[in-house]
């Protein structure tokens, strides 16, 4: 539980963070809430040589709603999302899912940007952003670019972020149609064994912990779009997935759970 030696830089602006990343190269890591990175460092599964702390950077946290779009700064904590009345009104799925992450201590430190950038298939928030059809705004040495959430997750703990890029904002559409998040776990503070996020009555459906990345359940979405019942649409939830095996579940059981939970989520969301 003792991390390896590491250098520490505190960035006071996005530009400074990007510059620090560019200077340190591959060995640098951004530090936001530290709720994923620090545990990995303590187990020496991550051994960055430099930590660039963006935790106190101004301007990257907060929720703004303009027209049909909700913009959320990357440093906004899960707790802020969970307790925001504005978000609960504009995008209740995201507010609810934020409240399902870990425990209160984790939610007070962990950030939306960190959760997405970490690209853990077992995380809750990536699935919500996928189901909502969100967009990620990233900044790098050459300026800013937008990445659709569907294009963002590229592999296990891998994303489309460049080594010298910073995720600055997450945009999701205002979404008040039928929604549900089914998180199945054995203890309240645990990661999902399987999770299913449903937005807009089944127009958007995403799965947690059903493969190497957070993923959209395209087959279910298509079935719902084609008028299938919740039961029939849920039947294809696991199609094409390669769910992992761990202490809690093997792949077959995860596939089974994904169908059960998808049916429950679609039903609750009014599909």
């Amino acid at each position: 539980m003792i991390p390896a030696a590491v250098d520490y830089v505190r960035a006071d602006s996005a530009e400074a963070a990007i510059a620090a990343l560019a200077e340190a190269g591959d060995e640098a890591k951004l530090l936001a809430g530290g709720q994923s990175l620090v545990p990995l460092m303590r187990l020496r599964l991550a051994t960055p040589s430099v930590l660039v702390d963006i935790g106190r950077l101004d301007g990257l946290s907060g929720i703004s709603i303009e027209g049909d779009t909700v913009g959320i700064g990357a440093l906004t904590t899960h707790s802020t999302l969970e307790h925001s009345a504005d978000l609960a009104a504009a995008c209740p799925l995201l507010a609810h899912v934020a409240g399902q992450v870990g425990d209160p201590a984790v939610r007070h430190r962990g950030t939306l940007g960190g959760s997405l950038a970490h690209a853990d298939p077992a995380s809750d928030l990536p699935a919500a952003v996928l189901a909502l059809g969100g967009t990620l705004v990233v900044a790098g040495p050459g300026g800013s670019r937008e990445i659709a959430a569907t294009d963002f997750f590229t592999g296990f703990l891998e994303s489309a972020l460049g080594a010298d890029e910073l995720l600055t904002e997450v945009r999701v559409p205002v979404s008040t149609g039928g929604w549900c998040y089914q998180k199945f776990n054995r203890r309240a503070q645990d990661w999902a064994i399987v999770g299913v996020a449903v937005a807009e009555g089944g127009a958007g459906v995403a799965l947690v912990n059903m493969g190497s990345t957070p993923m959209r359940a395209a087959g279910v979405e298509a079935a719902v779009a084609g008028g299938a019942s919740a039961v029939d649409a849920a039947a294809v939830a696991a199609d094409g997935t390669e769910p992992p095996t761990d202490n809690n579940a093997d792949g077959d059981y995860r596939a089974h759970l994904s169908r059960v939970l998808t049916e429950r989520a679609l039903t609750a969301a009014g599909a």
Partner: protein, 792 residues
């Protein structure tokens, strides 16, 4: 039966723990909080293999790291040990006990076995040093299951010639057993597996050995439950003069039995502190703990019941296969024996048979874990009683009522040879049924089934009796244990009439300071806040047998009560002298001595205490000061009992089990502080429910722990707990003057079978008769799929 001897109005009150403010604010110091100037840090290179020959160790890279002072492998330290790590319970004369050295020599026998140690100037440097020690291993086949161990396919300790450590039978009358089963109208046979559990004290272990090179003293700070036993054992293991060793347990954040041991890191720190002439310390990491601290349970049990046509038990036969892990730790071989006498539970059974075989595996050693032996025994009989109820065609409540030891039979000569002190079992079952609305729940269960609901209700009973208050020294001798079971106390009234109580028990979360001060204050008629309780330091409390086996109150508390009585008697003699009265004519109440019939003639205890201190005018033959020391050796165990009922809901589609309701009606005799009793039950019950539903130290085929951290090892949190309905009956023990019984393990003993009986009850209509623990959603779902033909 004894009534309560307490009249002071303090004992029996629910008083908040006086320990808590210091613990909650950080004022109390745990081992890792200690500032020890100049201390070197120890880090342990642990075998990543469950079974491997150590062919070479190259520490040169580690020695090149800034701050690393030294690296030692097993051979380097071989001359530091006068004896191997101790096992104090050679249960049979021919028990196989392989030499267990603190640092492995030649071969590592489990993943976590220490193969080398790094000593460094900081904890960080020590951790860095670990990566610089290159060990060449030649991996060997690992023995991971008890069945594989028993087969001797691979013999782990070549010098033992077998993996079987011992076989221990308790079969008073073999012919009667055969006859009972031959004649039985019902013969139930059940096999259950107790998974390995990781005790998971909130505070991991830690050690700091502080030498005084010039006068030869050695102070060992350790997060331990047993500073007294540790002192003796460390002296023997290291060949140090015992009078030079002082062991201090600072604030200790839980133990559950896992700190009832003598560990490699303790004696390694002492040996290296001696060698380097400076303090050496070590703090355990949570992941490290899965390979450095003992684990619990790990048994396979077969239980058979013989009963007549009415379901009245005629015989119980239990056979056990127990996993000791790679070596025998301090009391590990005795753990099955602590259950051996209780496989007939609280039922009146004439004929009894128990046999146990214990084997070595290439896994972390096991040892006592909350309840040690009794949870296993209770699980077997309580699960089997449900099976018998089904066979006989009566309810689980009825089968128990038909078999409870009748109240008039106490003290009860048990078929296993114990004498149960006192009991009255039926009222606990009746009350527990009331608390969960038994009839209402049964009706709801029927309704749900009739309506085709896929969320099935299950109701499970567990009635238990356990033996605790370890222990009469003579009984321990009969069981070949290497020490006694007495306890010591000193009660000292200071000149200003404040009181010091010195106890040999070692609290690590139980609230002893609160309870002991209540007992003494009640006896003396003073304020509990005027009573200080000293403990956990062998220089302050030189005599003690420490805390485990729910012994602290029944044995240690009794010693305190007796010492206080002796102090009162001495004070009475002095008061009589002061009042010019006959000692027999004095009454002592409310902290005052008065002369019977002359209420104006009185002297307060404070006056007597000061008089005893000045010693200006003491009666002939009375020594100055008010102090008494008592060592109490109990005449018997104490036998708390009760009934717990769990109500669960099983989601057929996912296999998820949810605890809906839980009632516990316990009887621990007279209660000193009901709030403490409640706390012990809450924690104990959750710990037992955790075995049923969550915790599982599972290992893969290579002997790697798959649950080595708290993300994978599912210790429940407050969020998983429900409000428990607790109630009590009071049947005092006649074996001690306070009429008390232990309650520290009862919750853990009772709750596991209650929950598993409930889970099986929910699923029985599908033909399911057992679920392997823990009843994880996947396990339950699989059982449902198998039972219902794979529908999903």
């Amino acid at each position: 039966m004894t009534e309560t001897p307490f009249t002071g109005g303090i004992v029996g009150e629910s008083r908040p723990r006086r320990e808590d403010p210091a613990l909650l604010t950080g004022e109390a110091k745990f081992i890792d909080d200690l500032q020890i100037p100049g201390a070197l840090w120890l880090a342990c290179v642990r075998s990543p293999h469950a079974h491997a020959r150590i062919t070479a160790i190259d520490a040169s890279a580690a020695l090149g790291i800034d701050g690393v002072v030294a690296v030692y492998c097993g051979d380097d330290l071989a001359d530091a040990w006068e004896a191997p790590l101790p096992c104090a319970w050679p249960v049979t004369d021919d028990m196989k006990n392989p030499a267990h050295y603190p640092v492995a020599q030649g071969k590592a026998n489990y993943a976590g076995d220490i193969v080398a140690v790094v000593v460094a100037e900081s904890r960080y440097a020590a951790a860095d040093g670990l990566e610089g020690v290159v060990v060449d291993y030649e991996p060997l086949d690992a023995v991971v299951t008890i069945e594989d161990a028993e087969s001797d396919r691979v013999v782990i300790h070549e010098d033992c010639g077998t993996n079987v450590s011992y076989e221990w039978p308790l079969v008073p009358d073999p012919d009667a057993v055969e006859a009972a089963f031959a004649d039985a109208a019902h013969h139930v046979t059940e096999t259950f597996v107790h998974q390995r559990l990781i005790p998971t004290a909130m505070e991991p272990r830690g050690v700091a050995a502080v030498p005084a090179p010039h006068n030869g003293n050695m102070t060992l700070y350790s997060s331990t439950q047993i500073p007294h036993i540790l002192k003796v054992m460390a002296a023997i293991t290291l060949g140090l003069p015992e009078q030079k060793i002082r062991v201090i347990a600072p604030s200790v954040g839980g133990g559950f039995g896992c700190k009832l041991n003598v560990y490699a890191e303790e004696v390694i720190c002492m040996a290296l502190a001696q060698r380097h002439g400076v303090p050496v310390r070590w703090t355990e990491g949570r992941t490290e703990a899965s390979g450095s601290t003992i684990q619990g349970r790990a048994q396979r049990q077969t239980i058979e019941l013989a009963a007549d046509a009415d379901g009245k038990l005629t015989a119980v036969r239990a056979t056990l296969l127990a996993d000791m892990g790679a070596y025998l730790q301090l009391v590990a071989p005795g753990v099955p024996l602590l259950g051996a006498f209780l496989y007939h539970g609280l039922y009146d059974v004439p004929v009894y048979s128990f046999t146990c075989k214990s084997v070595f595996t290439n896994l972390t050693p096991t040892d006592a874990y909350r309840g040690a032996g009794r949870p296993e025994a209770t699980y077997a009989i309580e699960r089997a009683m449900d099976a018998l109820a089904v066979a006989v065609g009566v309810g689980p409540d009825e089968i128990r009522s038909r078999n409870f030891i009748p109240t008039e039979k106490f003290p009860y000569d048990s078929p296993a040879g114990l004498v149960f002190d006192s009991g009255n079992y039926q009222p606990t079952l009746d009350r527990a049924k009331e608390l969960v609305d038994w009839d209402g729940r049964r009706a709801e269960q029927v309704d749900r089934r009739a309506a085709g609901s896929t969320t099935h209700l299950g109701i499970g009973i567990s009635s238990y009796v356990e033996m605790c208050g370890l222990a009469p020294s003579r009984t321990l001798a009969a069981l070949n244990y290497g020490a006694g079971g007495w306890e010591s106390a000193t009660v000292r009234i200071l000149p200003t009439c404040k009181v010091q109580v010195v106890t040999g028990v070692t609290p690590h979360g139980q609230g002893h300071e609160t309870c002991w001060s209540m007992i003494v204050a009640d006896q003396l008629g003073i304020d509990p806040d005027d009573v200080e309780v000293l403990h956990s330091d062998t220089a302050i409390s030189p005599l003690g047998m420490d805390t485990y086996g729910s012994r602290s109150l029944a044995v240690g508390g009794t010693a305190i009560w007796m010492a206080t009585e002796q102090v009162i008697e001495k004070a009475r003699a002095i008061a009589a002298h002061m009042l010019e009265a006959n000692a027999d004519d004095l009454e002592f109440a409310g902290g005052n001595f008065t002369v019977k019939g002359s209420p104006d003639k009185e002297v307060p205890l404070a006056g007597v205490a000061f008089g005893a201190f000045t010693a200006h005018d003491l009666p002939e033959g009375i020594q100055p000061n008010l102090q008494a020391q008592v060592t109490f050796d109990p005449s018997n165990f104490v036998f708390p009992f009760g009934t717990h009922i769990a109500v669960v809901e099983v989601d057929e589609a996912t296999g998820a089990v949810e605890l809906l309701d839980y009632a516990a009606v316990d009887d621990c005799g007279n209660q000193i502080n009901p709030l403490i009793v409640e706390g012990q039950l809450h924690g104990g019950i959750v710990q037992g429910v955790a075995q049923a539903l969550w915790e599982d130290a599972s290992y893969d085929a290579d002997g790697q722990c798959r649950a080595a951290n708290l993300a994978d090892y599912l210790v429940p949190s407050a969020a998983e707990c429900i409000d428990m309905k607790l109630d009590y009956t009071v049947t005092p023990s006649p074996s001690n003057p306070m009429g008390v019984k232990g309650i520290g393990e009862a919750g853990t003993i009772a709750s596991t079978p209650a929950v598993m009986n409930a889970v099986v009850d929910a699923l029985r209509p599908m033909g399911i008769t057992d679920i392997t623990m823990p009843a994880s959603p996947m396990t339950v779902r699989r059982a449902i799929e198998v039972a219902t033909g794979g529908a999903s």
